[in-house]
Amino acid sequence: MEYLIHLAIVISIYSILGLSLNLIVGYTGLLSMTQAAFYGIGAYATAIAMTSYGMNFFLAVVIGILLSALSALAIGYVLSRFDGDYFTLGSFGFNVIITAILVNWRGFTGGATGIPAIARPSLFGFTFSGNLSFLVLVLVSAVIIYFICQFIVRSSFGRVLKAIREDEKAIQVFGYNTKYYKLAIFAIGAMMASVAGAFYASYLSYISPAQFDINESAFILSIVVFGGLANNKGAIWGAAFLILLPEALQFVGFPSGIAEQLRQVVYGLALVFLMLYRPQGLVGEYKI
């Protein structure tokens, strides 16, 4: 049972990540490979605020959100000068840079060894130290974020994002300054990813830079492509599928180290098959 709760927590966290990136990739058509950077900024902001400054978890989350929003605006501004493949390349670059900063700014971030002993959230005297209570907290947050995503994509704003994805030049001709829209959704996605990072940090109680590098960005992208682009439920299905896969493999008998690699083989190949035969993913609405 404890184990199921653990899985549910992880799936919830990755659902938030998937939802956040889907807004950027699936709805707006920006192939961003730097989502893990914002995930990391949220995690580190929470960790540092709680361990070095004794802040309350919820306050730390807000700080993380602000920090990631600012970073996203800065990074997004530079990236908005790039088109297509160069955008992706540039985003990769930013992820590498942020990971390097996390590793090298030893005094502040604890360097490659990371930050240990991050506490669980507490509010009005109640601490979410039990996994079940923590799950409820994450789940509620995930649901809220899901509804925020639904609201965004169903609004006129969401319609503009899709038009940008379909033909950015054309929608510009009809009077839209698309740069601002792209920046806005990039920042919104980053803020959501940082919330996931905050939960991750508190749950694991220990974080290190290696958990937020480009491989993680690739994994988050895989969740979105798998579940299906431009479908919020798809992001959740994608997260569930990719998290449960190595568990299933371990269940069948593969040892955990092998299961991890095997998971990557499976979802790597699955990505290829999807691109060849089902580019809309499991339940997606957008065929790349």
Binding site: R159, V160, K162, D167, V173
Partner: protein, 244 residues
């Protein structure tokens, strides 16, 4: 009503003078046919005037009052200028109705997030879609429409903008006669409302039938202008077409 005038407009690509110090004006309440052989610069001119491509030098004057030395793509809509594309640029994986709604709704980020006038926009969308006969197909994806329907959707989208100046880039290409009638009547309606309508076309019959005034371009320059029948019988114009 708005007019659009250009002075000394210049644009070059890789050494080719696509638009070479062009001077002309498009008047309101008229359908102006813009013709010329392939490569004469017609589409480039429209791209310059709708902000799709920046021009190198020259001035664009709107309604005698607004002088523009540079244009950004999203600015031109605010000057009540809109267009259709020769190579039909729709929002493919969005339904027909969304293709229209997206040009009707609020332009600002916060405004569009908390859009207020949904009912009003729906009514306007219904209006233009019914005008082109696509209201029944409103929930189909643009990508699933037939060629003729796609061209009609482009026109509906332009109509939805409720602009003053319209550029139609080969709207009749490949259309069946029934649809040609629909499009022709739309252009005439716009003209009768006093709008400035510019029509790029290769079909000379339609040019003769529809345009009040004709402008002929060749190699980025103005070759001739005047009433369609006069212009089309000029030796230089005929030679330009034969030589292409």
């Amino acid at each position: 009503m708005s007019t659009i005038k250009i002075k000394n407009l210049y644009k070059h690509f890789d050494g080719i003078k696509a638009v070479d110090h062009l001077n002309l004006s498009f008047e309101s309440g008229k359908i102006t046919g813009l013709i010329g052989p392939n490569g004469s610069g017609k589409s480039t001119l429209i791209n310059l005037l709708t902000g799709v491509v920046p021009f190198d030098s020259g001035v664009v004057i709107i309604s005698e009052t607004t002088k523009l030395l540079r244009v950004k793509p999203y600015d031109m809509a605010s000057f009540d200028i809109t267009r259709t594309f020769q190579d039909v640029r729709l929002f493919e994986q969005m339904p027909v109705i969304d293709n229209i709604l997206v040009v009707l709704t609020k332009r600002g980020i916060v405004g569009s997030l908390f859009e207020q006038h949904k009912k009003y926009h729906l009514e306007k969308a219904k209006e233009v879609l019914e005008r082109v006969g696509l209201w029944e197909k409103r929930n189909e994806l643009a990508a699933d429409l037939s060629y003729g329907q796609r061209k009609l959707l482009e026109i509906a989208r332009a109509l939805a903008m409720n602009a003053d100046i319209y550029f139609f880039d080969e709207p009749f290409a490949g259309l069946f006669p029934e649809i040609i009638k629909v499009v022709s009547s739309i252009l005439k309606e716009l003209r009768d409302k006093g709008k400035t309508v510019v029509l790029v076309e290769h079909n000379m019959e339609l040019i003769r039938e529809l345009s009040d005034y004709c402008i002929v371009m060749d190699s980025g320059e103005l070759l001739a202008e005047g009433k369609p029948n006069d212009v089309l019988s000029q030796k230089a114009v005929i030679e330009a077409y034969l030589g292409e």
